[in-house]
């Protein structure tokens, strides 16, 4: 059997309208990974996909989503008209003899996970670079190269909870501390009128969001999966934390903002603010003290002055330090509670589609992927999660696996709740009762549609 775990076979983006004539096929390929693949091989792969997509369009107005061959699975995603993103993974296949012994298919990457990866990659691109259609044709190849190469290399597609249900981990906070943060944000926005706080994160948990939920997820993923781990590593390597670090600093650009040149290095992003109707371009300014990270935006057409940023630093630094200390105290308490959660026999997952809140009895942390949920079980959950229609606005499904796992999926009021119970010789009634108890114990104050 071939080890394909978490390997991306290839990833490419094409637009057939870019080189419509014969001999211009390479122009159609905006990006191809891995880069060592020869031009001919690229043409063949892309050509196949072009053909499939085109062929399928005669049968359905919906764009083609996937293609599976004996050895490969192709997932297609058309984020903008004529722009196709394709992700290819190898399928573990074995000879008949082996499969008849009962070789599990559980390790196979879920199509929904692959789909998620494509969508996330696109959203990330859109956030940092913009729409494909807005990028001038002459620079789109280099833009894609610059953005997707490091992005794809940093991604791995594993059957992990965080890849199955893409949610945001919110930090539960006692209300006075939360109000303190809200006040701090208000003060900041009033004193620095051009600046808008779009996110407040403690460790990897979100406390405050000022973006539309979709964009928040993308920014959150960027912070938690890419920027912050690097930052934490730097802080750890740095040994003794310098006084400057303790009192906070700008972490983008990575060496901080000290000179006028640094201002030019500040990244620009396309985002839609919460309660706003359109996506606009902003400077993204990220500031960090202790474990608290705050994201600010300024309209990209404004001119940033070094003086303003310096006074911003002076303003945020001490306040954020005291807030971070307050939260830290509370987190110690939560850690204790979470330890108890993890000890509960039954595992559960919770997801709210409205604010993308995700909660789990299984520790979720990008640094330590959860191995606590068995792959088959996760596959079933992925199935329920992606097949939103079958449960409707509210509903419940109980699935039993061969090895005595009972998986209950509950959907209600835009929320999903999964409970995993391993129990021998149980019946559906017992399981339903147990799920009810877990639900009442863990989801206090949340209304599930009665049936």
């Amino acid at each position: 059997m071939i080890d394909v775990e978490s390997k991306i076979n290839s990833f490419f983006i094409f637009n057939s309208t870019f080189g419509p004539k014969e001999g211009e096929e390479l122009k159609r390929i905006l990006f191809f990974h891995p880069s060592q693949i020869s031009a001919d091989a690229r043409k063949i792969q892309v050509g196949l996909c072009e053909a499939v997509v085109k062929f399928m369009s005669t049968f359905s107005s919906e764009p083609c989503e996937a293609l599976q061959t004996q050895t490969k699975r192709y997932i297609f995603y058309q984020p903008e008209k004529n722009y196709w993103m394709v992700l290819v993974v190898r399928i573990p296949y074995a000879t008949k003899a082996l499969s008849s012994i009962g070789e599990k298919k559980g390790d196979m990457v879920q199509p929904s996970i692959m789909q998620n990866l494509l969508v996330t990659a696109y959203k990330m691109f859109r956030m940092f670079v913009g729409l494909f259609t807005d990028v001038p044709a002459d620079v789109i190849y280099t833009k894609c190269q610059q953005f997707f190469t490091p992005y794809i290399l940093s991604r791995c597609i594993t059957n992990d909870v965080i890849n199955v249900i893409q949610g945001i981990n919110y930090l539960p906070l006692e209300k006075n501390s939360f109000l303190k943060i809200v006040c701090f944000i208000d003060l900041l926005e009033i004193n620095f009128q051009d600046f808008k706080c779009i996110g407040f994160i403690y460790n990897e948990q979100l406390i405050w969001n000022g973006l539309s939920t979709d964009d928040m997820l993308t920014l959150y993923q960027y912070l938690v999966q890419s920027l912050l781990p690097k930052q934490v590593e730097k802080e750890i390597q740095g040994g003794a934390v310098t006084a400057a670090q303790r009192h906070g600093r700008f972490i983008t650009p990575c060496d901080g903002i000290h000179t006028d040149e640094d201002i030019d290095k500040i990244i620009k992003v396309y985002l839609k603010l919460e309660d706003d109707t359109e996506t606009k371009q902003y400077y993204l300014i990220i500031y960090r003290t202790l474990s608290a990270t705050i994201c600010l935006t300024v309209y990209a057409d404004k001119t940033l002055e070094l003086e303003t940023l310096k006074s911003l630093d002076a303003f945020i630094g001490p306040q954020l330090y005291s807030i971070a200390s307050t939260i830290s105290k509370q987190c110690t308490l939560h850690a204790l509670q979470n330890a108890q959660l993890a000890n509960t026999e039954n595992k559960f997952l919770y997801f709210n589609r409205i604010n993308l809140a995700f909660k789990s009895s299984v520790p979720i942390n990008s640094l330590s992927p959860s191995a606590a949920i068995k792959p088959e079980v996760l596959n079933i959950i992925a199935g329920i999660h992606s097949d939103r229609k079958s449960l409707g606005n509210y509903g419940e499904i109980i699935i039993k696996t061969l090895d005595e796992y009972w998986i209950t999926g509950k959907s209600s009021n835009e929320r999903e709740f999964y409970v995993i119970i391993q129990k021998k010789n149980a019946n559906v009634i017992e399981i339903a009762e147990e799920v009810k108890q877990v639900c009442e114990a863990q989801m206090k104050g949340i209304f599930f549609y009665p049936m």
């Binding site: 906070l173 209300k175 006075n176 939360f178 109000l179 809200v182 006040c183 208000d186 003060l187 009033i190 405050w208 969001n209 000022g210 919460e274 309660d275 709210n352 409205i354 604010n355 606005n393 509210y394 009021n413 835009e414 929320r415 104050g445 949340i446 209304f447 549609y449 009665p450 049936m451």
Partner: protein, 575 residues
């Protein structure tokens, strides 16, 4: 400087009672006495027969009577139970004697007697009634506490304490008397308790700056009795500084530091206590200052310094006989302040009580002072309503007063928890279009308390944002508003779940729910989606209900379900 002014407020933070209690004005033939223990004004007309009129804010303590004129009166006071009248006269040779007249139904009986102090040649400085049947003679030799036995026409000495004093000050509310000794450099408090006299720790003042009688009074503020002393600057120096008021705690109160009130003024002063605030009246400027000794402050060198809470201002002008009555006008001398809040104009014959108008504290104040004022208002009896108005106004222009709002709520949080916030939030919710995200965040964090009005407001926003429905239903669930949940689910086109929720109601409520309503919702749902399953499920549930209540699955005629029965038959037949 940004100023804040509470709407519909005026600057008069001190007002006199609307209607003064009128009495015969001071004149060559009348004398006016005031007893602050009972709050009674005694008007004594002399010449032949003495006519006495007693007036008080309390109608049950008003009376008038006649008595024989036995000489000029120095002091006249009724006992606490209004059953004995004590009179001290300025008669040569018997100055240590007090006369008594037994009273019945506020009229004198003919039972009269007198008692002479144990120190025969002492001078009675005055007397007080600490208890219904106890009287204390305060003399220059000491204090004698006596029990009055009206039936026996006798007085019995309970306790006496020797102290050489020149004058005294009495606080009826705490039963403490302070005697001034050593030419006003030593103040010795005594406490009447359980028919005995307790000597409290003495207060010593610099012998270079002794006090006189009019500079000392006793006040009860924040449940502590203080000896208030006006400390005027020495007149001997070239540039005398302003007067300070020292509030010295009397022992046993648990407080061991002095409050120093900085008036910044010089001249004649008087002092009142309203709603635990100290009002200092300054004669020449005709203004009053307010001091809040409960405000948060640092103790330094065993003393705490206070500045006026708000700038000095005149009292609301009183109107007497439809004429504005100037306060402490230049021809004054006729205005007298008594503890805690009595004001007497002897010439016009008016008795008022002072009261605080809390709204005026928020009139035209510095923006930065809002927090201080809120915290002060929270300690006032009529303050909550003003705080509520003030917050509503701050919220209305929150962009200007953000810091102050934080401060104000911090102050409130330290006192109450969450009483006022809810109604404010509902208002903010109703008008705040762009703040939806913030509101949702606050709700999810439980920063706003659950309440039915809030849940209903949320529901009305459901069309604008799907999260509102989710939050509203959660809130109703926490509030156990099960019947409302059924209604909401029905209006959300979720008939099956509505039936589910209805079954969780108490049995009577579920059985009493009109079937037509449920079927109508289910029918609408089915018609919209061309999917009869939900309708069939609801129909079956109701049939089962009919079966348990009436023994038959059919609907009653009065329930008007015929059209739905037809629809049911149609869809089931199709299957």
């Amino acid at each position: 400087m940004v100023k804040f002014s509470l709407e519909d407020s005026d600057p008069y933070y001190l007002t006199l009672s609307e209607q003064p209690k009128r009495f015969d004005a001071d004149s060559p033939v009348t004398n006016v006495f005031f007893d602050d223990t009972n709050g009674q004004v005694f008007t004594v007309r002399s010449g032949g027969v003495t006519g006495v009129t007693v007036n008080s804010m309390d109608e049950s303590k008003c009376t008038s009577f006649r008595m024989e004129d036995k000489g000029p009166i120095i002091s006249i006071k009724l006992s606490l139970d209004q059953k004995v009248l004590a009179i001290q006269r300025n008669n040569e040779g018997q100055s240590a004697t007090v006369e008594f007249v037994n009273f019945k139904d506020l009229s004198p009986t003919n039972v009269e007697y007198s008692h002479t102090c144990k120190w025969k040649n002492s001078k009675i400085l005055g007397f007080v009634w600490p208890k219904a049947n106890e009287i204390a003679f305060i003399t220059d030799h000491g204090i004698e506490l006596l029990q009055v036995l009206p039936e026996k026409k006798q007085l019995k000495t309970l306790k006496s304490v020797s102290f050489s004093g020149a004058w005294f000050s009495w606080c009826a509310r705490s039963n403490i008397v302070v005697l001034a000794g050593n030419n006003g450099a030593l103040l010795q408090p005594f406490y009447f308790n359980n028919s005995t006299i307790v000597k409290l720790q003495k207060l010593e003042l610099e012998s270079s700056r002794p006090v006189v009688e009019r500079d000392v009074c006793m006040v009860l503020v924040a449940d502590v009795t203080w000896c208030a002393v006006f400390r005027h600057a020495l007149t001997t120096i070239a540039a005398p500084g302003p007067t300070e008021i020292w509030l010295m705690p009397l022992s046993g109160s648990g407080v061991n530091y002095t409050h120093v009130l900085k008036t910044g003024l010089m001249g004649r002063f008087a002092l009142s206590v309203v709603d635990d605030l100290i009002a200092v009246h300054h004669q020449s400027s005709q203004t009053s200052q307010l001091f809040d000794i409960m405000e948060e402050c640092k103790v330094e060198n065993n003393s705490v310094t206070h500045l006026p809470l708000v700038p000095a201002h005149t009292m609301r002008p009183a109107v007497v006989d439809e004429q504005p009555c100037p306060i402490w006008s230049t021809d004054s001398g006729n205005w007298v302040m008594f503890q805690p809040d009595y004001v007497i104009d002897a010439r016009r014959g008016c008795l008022w009580r002072l009261s605080l108008a809390p709204a005026a504290l928020a009139h035209n104040i510095q923006k930065e002072e809002i927090g201080k004022i809120v915290s002060c208002l929270l300690r006032r009896r009529g303050g909550a309503d003003v705080v509520h108005r003030l917050l509503a106004q701050l919220v209305a222009s929150a962009h200007l007063y953000l810091l102050q709002l934080t401060d104000a709520f911090d102050q409130i949080n330290s006192v109450y928890s969450n009483v006022i916030t809810c109604s404010l939030c509902v208002r903010a919710l109703a008008c705040g279009g762009g703040a939806g995200g913030r509101l949702r965040a606050l709700l999810r964090r439980g920063a706003l308390s659950d309440s039915r009005p809030l849940a209903c407001q949320l529901l009305s926003l459901a069309r604008l944002h799907p999260a509102a429905t989710q939050l509203a239903l959660d809130m109703m669930y926490r509030l156990r508003a099960r019947e409302e949940i059924v209604e909401v689910l029905l209006s959300c086109d979720e008939a099956v779940s509505a039936v589910g929720a209805a079954r969780q109601l108490d049995p009577a409520a579920w059985l009493g729910l009109a079937p037509r309503k449920l079927l109508a919702a289910a029918h609408a749902h089915a018609a919209q989606r061309a999917q009869p399953h939900a309708f069939v499920a609801v129909y079956h549930a109701l049939q089962a209900r009919n079966d348990t209540t009436r023994g038959s699955p059919h609907f009653l005629k009065g329930e008007q379900c015929e059209s739905y029965v037809e629809y049911y038959e149609k869809v089931t037949a199709e299957r």
